[in-house]
Every structure is written in C-alpha cells, then in structure tokens.
Symmetry: C2
Subunit: 142 residues, 2 copies
C-alpha cells in the first residue's frame, strides 16, 4: 500500500502531534527509537517533510522537530503526496496512459471509487484531527 518512507513518515508526524504539547522538540533519534524504525533513514524522511512544510525544525542546542499550528492544520493527504509523489492518487491502476470512465481499463470501476474514497477522506482531515483522541500506543510497533 504505502512505501516504508511514507509509513515511517506518517507515524513520525503523529508522534510529534501526540507528544509535542508545550512546544517540545524531538530529535530524529528519539522518534526513531520510539517507533522502532531506522534512525538515519527517518532523519532523511523528516528532512523531506520539513522541506514540504509538513513539520517544523529548529537547529542548534535545544532544537529538534515539532509541529507548528500551520503544520497541524495541513490535511493528512499532504504527508502522502510529499513522500509518495504528487501522482500517487492519479492515473490508471494498470499503468495505462489514460484513466477515465469513458475508456476504462478492466479494473477501473473496481479500484477508482475506492481510491477516490480514501483520497477524499485524507483531503478532508487535518493532522490535528487525525491525532485527536489517538492513543500514543497506536503508532507503536507492538
């Protein structure tokens, strides 16, 4: 479904949402240890998310990653588009050049409504909303 990059990224963002009360900052190492994911790899993902405006960061002593109000107000889908690419929810599931109900491939009407359904949900839910009422253990590996 999602790449490891994307899976780690979503969980890291939610980790920040759940633990960041009071302007706390977190290093990639701290997050990676909590989520049990490769630390250097996660550091790169956080950097990419930072470039995409999905997370905020501060350099130097006392610095680290965190979520600003703006970050929290972003729709969840933006995490996925940033890490999987802008085309993730576009195009034919069988890889054909065009995708339309006018000339549908054999799987079009089975797959596209479901994909569009997920897309709609993620477009209309902010990171804050997704993290609300979430138990911190829900992003942990066991």
């Amino acid at each position: 479904m999602f790449s490891k990059t994307c899976r780690y990224g979503i969980r890291a963002v939610l980790f920040l949402a759940l633990n960041g009360k009071g302007a706390k900052r977190f290093s990639p190492d701290t997050i990676a240890e909590a989520l049990e994911v490769p630390r250097y790899f996660l550091a790169k993902i956080l950097l990419q998310l930072s470039r995409g405006g999905l997370v905020s960061s501060a350099k130097g002593r006392g610095g680290g990653f965190y979520l600003s109000e703006e970050n929290l107000a972003r729709p969840v889908i933006d995490i996925i588009l940033e890490l999987e690419g802008k085309e993730f929810f576009k195009g034919c599931v069988l890889g054909l050049k065009r995708c339309s109900s006018a000339k549908p491939c054999p799987m079009h009407f089975q797959a596209i409504p479901l994909r569009d359904g997920l897309k709609f949900q993620l477009e209309n839910q902010t990171i804050r909303e997704l993290s609300n009422g979430l138990n911190p253990i829900q992003i942990l590996n066991d």
Copy 2:
C-alpha cells in the same frame, strides 16, 4: 497501487482471455508487442503465472501461452496474490506488527474497509467474468 510485474501480468492474462478463442497459443513476444511492455520481462512474468496455475503453456513448435477452462475459472485475486505475494491484502497499512480493530493504527478504519472491499470483489470474480464484455482496446496502452 500495483507493481509493474502485477500490472503487466493482469493485462497479459486478459489478453489471453480475449484473444484465445479456439485453442490459440501466444508467445511472450506477441503479447509484449500488443501490450507495449518489455518482452523479456513479460516472459518471466508469464512463467511465474504458469507456475502458479494462472496460465497454461505448451512447449515446442506451435506452442505458446493460453488459458485453460481451469485458468478461466480462477478468481482475479489469484493473479495479484501470485505476483505481489500472498500477504498483499494482509497486515497493517502503516506496517505495524498487528492489525485489528481492537488495537487499530490511525489509518485502520479509513483504509481497511476499502482494501477489504476490493479484496472481496476480486475474490468473487473469475478471470472469465472480468474478461466478459471487455473490449480488447481496454488493455492497450492508448
């Protein structure tokens, strides 16, 4: 969504379903040219499908790939399970060790119903059914 292996494989199976009236056989080259996919790569995919009992083949002069009655009666999902692996429709979309509604990850209730919906459709549709009423151009690239 699907890997290239899986996308090429599904289209190749449907090519055989649509063109195989009258016990015709097709070489990987013929199929690859029609579908505009890499021929040697497709040959490997067809071999894997053959091992999985999704397509049939005959060696030697006049041989090639085709679909038997048994092949046509297989559910569409088996193509995907063969080429993506048996775990494709299983497990947590965020990669967590366990997936259950008892301890759901943040995306569980958004993603799992949709995935299960697609799974159910593909389990309950045979290759023959999927190919019925299909226009051959629907598996072509343009």
